[in-house]
Symmetry: C2
Subunit: 134 residues, 2 copies
DNA sequence: TCCTAATTCGTAATCATTCTGATTAAACTA
DNA sequence: TAGTTTAATCAGAATGATTACGAATTAGGA
């Protein structure tokens, strides 16, 4: 499964560095939104001196090419591995951060309602407590 | 119309200070999301030395009691006057920040799809260019 | 193996936001 | 209207996330 991401990196002429691959591994291994701090603490097991510059730069780069997706929670950016299958949104647990997919998205209804505006993107996020945290 | 907000302040035992009232006036006069910086520059006409502490504190306080609503854009919080009429969401122009209401919200469908999670809140935001900015 | 541009490092800088302790003023009471 | 109380404000320092910078390292190709 990591090979799919290696392909994506190559397609964008990005080098396969150990930091990048481990970063992808960490995010791919846990289907939840994580802050830069959480990510650095997980990476610290493998790279104790990794720079925040490296973390942030790669989070941006990989978000740009669609490997990660981001959202702003508690005034800090959080990142998770992107879902490539099809368009959908997420429920996010406010306690533990785990996500659950929601398929339904009425974007055409909204476009109809809006009329002549040019819709570029949209965000749908559902917040609450997952079954474990409730 | 400002009287409605004065009532809300009184209901929550908040004092009617000149800074607060002008802040509400500024946000109520422009139906768009504004950053703290934009807000301070508008307030500076009336209170050249107003402190950011005052601005942020009141933005929070008034958001808490439902006078303002907030969203995170470009890693900074933005605020607008709240719409009190009924539940709905917004389209936000990525260039000028103006908003447009969208009525449709399938929150029950999402709750059905999610099953046993406890849904506390949700965010729906549509981004793009308004007719003027397109 | 060597070259070169991309990547990373360590740290300083920036920027939004929050905190602190002192001062001011809204609102209530007499 | 003056006095009292307590919330609100101020100025500026502190915090915390994120970005920038110049030097050092390294992936990937020749």
């Amino acid at each position: 499964m990591i090979n799919q991401y290696k392909e994506q990196l190559k397609e964008h002429n990005l080098k396969l560095t150990d930091k990048r691959l481990k970063l992808i591994e960490v995010l791919a291994g846990d289907e939840k939104y994580m802050s830069a701090k959480e990510i650095q603490s997980k990476l610290a097991d493998y790279f104790p001196t990794i720079s925040y510059d490296t973390i942030y730069r790669n989070l941006h780069t990989l978000t740009d090419i669609g490997v990660f997706e981001q959202t702003s929670l508690d005034q800090e950016m959080h990142y998770k591995i992107a879902c490539v299958t099809h368009h959908h949104h997420h429920f996010i647990c406010e306690r533990c951060g785990v996500t659950q997919v929601v398929e339904y998205c009425p974007v055409e209804k909204w476009q109809n309602e809006l009329g002549d505006v040019k819709l570029n993107s949209h965000k749908v996020e559902l917040y609450g407590y997952c079954e474990k945290c409730a």
